[in-house]
C-alpha cells in the first residue's frame, strides 16, 4: 500500500484562496504547494488565517474564491468527503476522541468493519486491523485499551494511527505538542520523521519554533491572511521565522527583573490538596520575582493553582498571603483577597466567549461598574476601553463578541479582567498556550511589569523555553510534591527535567 510517491510531484496545490467571515477577511489570495514526503511547517500569529486555511483543506469551510488542485483535479468548492477521499487527515489541537470507546472503535468510527448477514460490527477484525497501525506510530497501548485510560499524548498517537488507517497522504497536525511534555514531544518528532519516510506529507502547525527548526523541511508563513514568505530547509531559523510572522524583528523576548527580590507574598506550609492528598507542598513566592512552576503533565500543577484559588479544597496546611492566612474556600473568597487565576483553558474557564469583550472584562467585578446594583453600560465600556488601550487588545469596539478575537487577544481580555481590579497575586496557568509570538512577548513583559510592581507572579508552563526564559526561580512538581527549586543560575532544560521525572 505504500506506493513510493514521487518526492517532487506536488500532492496538493492551493491557488489564490480567499475567504471572509461575517465582516472579517480571513484569507486573501493565498497559494501554497505541498509535496509528498515533506514536513511543511505552517506558522503565523493567531488570526493570521492558519485555522481557516486548514478548515478549507478539511472541507469544513468553503473558500469564497480560488481553488484546490489534487491529482490534477481542480476543485472550486471542496467538501469534507472530497477532502477525505483525497487522503487529507487531521490531528487536532483539541483531540476528537471518544473516551467511552476503546482504541479500535475510535480508529474505525464511522467505518466499522462489519461481518455476518446482520452486518454487526466485527470487533475482532477491527482489533486485528488496528494492531499494525498502532505499531507503526510506536504506540505502547493496545487496540482494546479504553481511550479513557490513555494520556493526551497517547490519544494523539491514536489519531495519527487513525489517519494511517484511512491511508492518509497528507496529515495536518494543529499545535500537536501544546499539551505534551518534553519526552512526549520527542516521541512525536520521531513519528513525524517516520511518516515522512513513508512518503506522507505533514503540515505541521505550531508556535514552538524550536520544534519547527527540528522537524520541518519547509516553512510557510501567513500574516494578516496573506502569504508572508517561505523558508527552505537551510534557512529555517528562529529569527527568520519571527520576522516573517510579525513582519519585523523582535529584540528580546524576555526582560530581566528591575528590582531585587523582596519579602514573601505567598507561602505554603504543609499543604495537602484534595486532588493530591498524599503530597505535601511547601514553597514561598517573593515579591519582585516570577516564580515558574514546572513539571510533567499530571504532576498536579493546575490542581495546586486551583486549590490556592479556591476551586478545589485544601485539606490541611497553611496558605499565607503577605503574612496573613489566606482562606479561599471559593474563587470568590480568593478574588476578594486579591488572588487571581488566569486559567489554563481560557475558552472553558477564562471567558464567556459568546458575550461582549466589555462584559468579560467586568465580569468579576460588576459591582464596581454599577450604581445601586444597576449595571452601568457606560462605566463598563469605559473600564474595558481602558484595558483595551493598556493591553493593546486588537479590536475596534469593546462591544464586539469575545469569540471574534484571536487567541492572543482573548487571553488579553482575561488579563484585562484581573488587571482592572487590585491584584496581589496572579497565577498564570499556561498563559501563552496557542498564542502567537508577538502576544507572547507582550504577556511576558506584562508579567515582568507586575512582578516589578510588587504583585506576586506565579507561572505554570509546559513550554520549557518559556519556563527557563521567563522565570527568576522555578519550583518543579513531581506527583504533586515539590521535587526541587532552581534559581536562575541553575536553570536549564536538563535540570528541570531531571527534577520533573525524578531521575538521578
Amino acid at each position: 500500500m505504500t506506493t513510493k510517491e514521487d518526492r517532487t510531484r506536488p500532492l496538493l496545490v492551493l491557488e489564490n484562496i480567499s475567504k471572509a467571515y461575517t465582516g472579517v477577511v480571513a484569507l486573501c489570495n493565498v497559494s501554497m504547494t505541498i509535496l509528498a514526503g515533506e514536513v511543511l511547517a505552517l506558522i503565523g500569529e493567531n488570526g493570521a488565517g492558519k485555522s481557516t486555511l486548514m478548515k478549507i483543506l478539511g472541507g469544513v469551510v468553503q473558500p469564497n474564491s480560488g481553488h484546490i488542485i489534487i491529482d490534477n483535479v481542480r476543485y472550486d468548492g471542496f467538501s469534507v468527503t472530497e477532502s477525505q477521499s483525497a487522503g487529507i487527515a487531521f490531528v487536532h489541537q483539541e483531540l476528537n476522541v471518544f473516551d467511552n470507546l476503546d482504541v479500535a472503535a475510535n480508529m474505525f468510527l464511522g467505518r466499522e468493519i462489519r461481518a455476518g448477514f446482520l452486518g454487526l460490527m466485527d470487533v475482532k477484525a477491527m482489533h486485528a486491523a488496528a494492531k499494525p497501525l498502532l505499531r507503526r506510530v510506536g504506540a505502547t497501548f493496545e487496540a482494546d485499551t479504553p481511550v479513557a485510560a490513555l494520556s493526551l499524548a497517547e490519544c494523539q498517537l491514536l489519531e495519527i494511527a487513525k489517519a494511517l488507517s484511512i491511508k492518509a497522504r497528507i496529515i495536518i497536525m494543529d499545535e500537536p505538542t501544546s499539551s505534551l511534555t518534553l519526552s512526549e514531544t520527542k516521541t512525536l518528532m520521531s513519528v513525524v520523521a517516520s511518516l515522512k519516510a513513508e512518503g506522507i506529507a505533514v503540515i505541521y502547525i505550531s508556535h514552538r519554533l524550536s520544534e519547527i527548526e527540528e522537524c520541518a523541511d519547509r516553512v510557510f508563513a501567513l500574516r494578516d491572511g496573506r502569504a508572508a514568505g517561505e523558508l527552505g530547509t537551510s534557512d529555517i531559523h528562529h529569527d527568520a521565522m519571527i520576522r516573517m510572522m510579525i513582519g519585523r524583528d523582535l529584540n528580546s523576548l524576555y526582560a530581566p527583573p528591575a528590582r531585587p527580590v523582596g519579602e514573601a507574598i505567598l507561602s505554603l506550609r504543609g499543604v495537602r490538596t484534595r486532588a493530591k492528598p498524599r503530597a505535601l507542598v511547601e514553597f514561598d513566592l517573593h515579591s519582585g520575582e516570577i516564580l515558574g512552576v514546572a513539571g510533567l503533565v499530571g504532576a498536579g500543577r493546575t490542581e495546586l493553582a486551583e486549590a490556592i484559588f479556591g476551586i478545589d479544597a485544601i485539606l490541611e496546611g497553611k496558605v499565607m498571603l503577605a503574612g496573613r492566612p489566606l482562606r479561599a474556600a471559593s474563587p470568590r473568597a480568593a478574588i476578594e483577597a486579591g488572588v487571581y487565576l488566569v486559567p489554563e483553558d481560557r475558552k472553558r474557564a477564562g471567558l464567556v466567549l459568546e458575550t461582549a469583550i466589555c462584559e468579560n472584562v467586568c465580569l468579576a467585578d460588576l459591582y464596581a461598574v454599577s450604581r445601586h446594583g444597576v449595571v452601568s453600560q457606560s462605566l463598563m465600556k469605559a473600564r474595558a476601553e481602558d484595558q483595551r488601550v493598556k493591553l493593546d487588545i486588537r479590536t475596534n469596539d469593546v462591544m464586539r463578541k469575545t469569540a471574534e478575537l484571536s487567541g492572543g487577544n482573548q487571553q488579553k481580555v482575561v488579563l484585562g479582567k484581573w488587571l482592572s481590579m487590585r491584584p496581589r497575586l496572579i497565577i498564570f496557568d499556561e498563559p501563552t498556550r496557542g498564542i502567537d509570538v508577538a502576544s507572547k512577548v507582550e504577556i511576558y513583559k506584562l508579567m515582568r511589569a507586575l512582578a516589578d510592581a510588587g504583585v506576586g507572579v506565579m507561572m505554570i508552563s509546559s513550554d520549557m523555553e518559556e519556563v527557563i526564559g521567563v522565570s527568576d526561580r522555578v519550583v518543579v512538581l513531581r506527583e504533586g510534591e515539590i521535587a526541587g527549586s532552581l534559581s536562575r543560575s541553575e536553570l536549564s532544560e536538563h535540570n528541570v527535567l531531571k527534577l520533573a521525572v525524578g531521575a538521578n
Binding site: 480567499s18 475567504k19 471572509a20 467571515y21 461575517t22 465582516g23 472579517v24 477577511v25 480571513a26 486573501c28 493567531n46 488570526g47 493570521a48 488565517g49 485555522s51 481557516t52 469564497n64 474564491s65 494578516d224 491572511g225 484559588f309 476551586i311 471559593s330 474563587p331 470568590r332 480568593a334 478574588i335 476578594e336 487565576l341 486559567p343 472553558r348 474557564a349 477564562g350 471567558l351 464567556v352 466567549l353 459568546e354 458575550t355 462584559e359 465580569l363 468579576a364 460588576l366 459591582y367 454599577s370 446594583g373 444597576v374 449595571v375 486588537r394 479590536t395 475596534n396 471574534e404 478575537l405 484571536s406 487567541g407 479582567k417
Partner: protein, 343 residues
C-alpha cells in the same frame, strides 16, 4: 428592544390583523379583555420559566405546582377561613421552598434539572390529587372576597388586573435580568458556568435563585388561576402549563442551552400563544387542533429566525470580501486598519 423582540411583535400584529380581517370580533372589547386576562395569567409564570431557562435549566413542574398551590389556596381561604393575605403569603412561601428544593438538588447534589423538575411534576400533581381525594376544591356557595376578587379578577379601565400584575412583574424582572448585577451573573452562568465560577460568581446561588424566582412567580400565578377558575380540579388544573411557559420562552428568543433571552421576548411569546388560541376559536378551527397550530407556529418561527440569521452572516461575509477587493489597489496600511482577521 432587541431585533428579535421586534420581529416577534411584528408577527403578533400581522397575525392579529389577519384574524381581525377574517373575524372582526377579535378586536371587540370582550375578546380583548379575555385574551389579556389569559396573557396575564400565562405570562406571569412564563417569565419565571425564563429565568430558569436562562441558566440552561428547565422547570417542568410549574403546571403541577399551579394545581397543588391552587388547591391549598382555595382550601385555606374557602374551607379553613384563613384570611386571604395570609393564605397568599403561605402559598408564596411554599412556592419558595419548592423552588429552593429544586435549586439545591440541582446545584448541591448535581442532579439534572429535567429529572428534578420532572419528579416535581409527578409529585405535586399526586400530592394535589391525594390531598383532595380527587375532589374538586372550591369556595363555599355564595362566598365573597371583594378585595381579593378585585385584586385578581377585577378590571380597571377595562383591562383585567392579571394583565396589570404581569406588566408590574415583567417590569421588575426586566430590571433584574437586564440591568442588575444579579442579572449579569445569571446570563454569564447560563453562557459559561465554568468561566463564571472562575470569575468569582457564586454559581450555585445564582442558579438556585433562578428556580426560586420561577417557583415564586408560579405561586403568584397559582392564586390568579384559582381565582379565575373559582374551583380547582386537581387532576386537570394546570395540565401542560409548563409547556406553555417553555414555548413562550422559546418563541421569545430564549435558548434552551442557556444564556440567551429577554423578558420582553418571553412576554411577547406569551402574547402570541394566547393570540393563537384565540385564532383557533375565532376562525372556527376545531379546538382539537389547538396544540397542532401552536406547535406548527413555534416550529416555523424558530426555523425562520435561524435561517434569517444564517442568511445575514453569509451576506456580511460577502460584503467584507467585496470591501477587500475594492481596497486591493489602495495602500496596504489602510487595509490593515480595516481588516480584522479571526483565528
Amino acid at each position: 428592544m432587541q431585533k428579535k423582540d421586534f420581529g416577534l411583535a411584528v408577527l403578533i400584529i400581522v397575525v392579529g390583523a389577519v384574524v381581525y380581517l377574517r373575524n372582526p370580533l377579535f378586536l371587540s372589547p370582550i375578546n380583548l379583555g379575555n385574551t389579556a386576562n389569559l396573557i396575564g395569567l400565562f405570562g406571569l409564570f412564563a417569565i419565571g420559566q425564563g429565568f430558569v431557562i436562562m441558566t440552561g435549566g428547565i422547570d417542568l413542574s410549574v403546571g403541577s405546582m399551579i394545581a397543588l398551590l391552587g388547591v391549598l389556596f382555595v382550601d385555606m381561604v374557602g374551607k379553613y377561613g384563613v384570611p386571604w393575605p395570609a393564605a397568599i403569603l403561605v402559598v408564596i412561601l411554599v412556592g419558595t421552598l419548592l423552588g429552593l428544593a429544586h435549586g439545591l438538588l440541582i446545584t448541591k447534589l448535581r442532579m439534572q434539572p429535567f429529572v428534578v423538575t420532572l419528579c416535581g411534576l409527578l409529585i405535586y400533581r399526586g400530592a394535589a390529587r391525594g390531598y383532595t381525594g380527587e375532589a374538586t376544591a372550591g369556595f363555599p356557595f355564595g362566598a365573597n372576597y371583594p378585595a381579593l376578587e378585585w385584586l385578581t379578577i377585577g378590571r380597571s379601565f377595562g383591562v383585567p388586573h392579571s394583565f396589570y400584575a404581569m406588566i408590574i412583574v415583567g417590569t421588575v424582572c426586566w430590571f433584574v435580568l437586564h440591568r442588575s448585577v444579579f442579572g449579569r451573573h445569571l446570563q454569564a452562568v447560563g453562557k459559561n458556568e465554568d468561566a463564571a465560577r472562575y470569575s468569582g460568581i457564586r454559581t450555585g446561588f445564582v442558579i438556585t435563585a433562578a428556580y426560586v424566582i420561577c417557583a415564586v412567580l408560579t405561586a403568584v400565578a397559582a392564586v390568579y388561576f384559582a381565582m379565575f377558575t373559582r374551583s380547582v380540579q386537581p387532576s386537570s388544573h394546570g395540565n401542560f402549563y409548563e409547556l406553555y411557559a417553555i414555548a413562550a420562552a422559546v418563541l421569545g428568543g430564549f435558548s434552551l442551552r442557556g444564556g440567551e433571552g429577554s423578558i420582553i421576548g418571553v412576554v411577547l411569546g406569551a402574547v402570541l400563544l394566547q393570540e393563537l388560541q384565540n385564532l383557533v376559536n375565532l376562525l372556527g378551527i376545531p379546538s382539537s387542533l389547538n396544540f397542532a397550530v401552536m406547535g406548527a407556529v413555534i416550529l416555523t418561527g424558530v426555523l425562520a429566525d435561524q435561517q434569517f440569521n444564517r442568511y445575514r452572516a453569509k451576506r456580511r461575509a460577502m460584503i467584507a470580501l467585496g470591501v477587500l477587493n475594492r481596497k486591493e489597489a489602495a495602500p496596504r496600511q489602510e487595509q490593515a486598519a480595516e481588516i480584522i482577521c479571526p483565528d
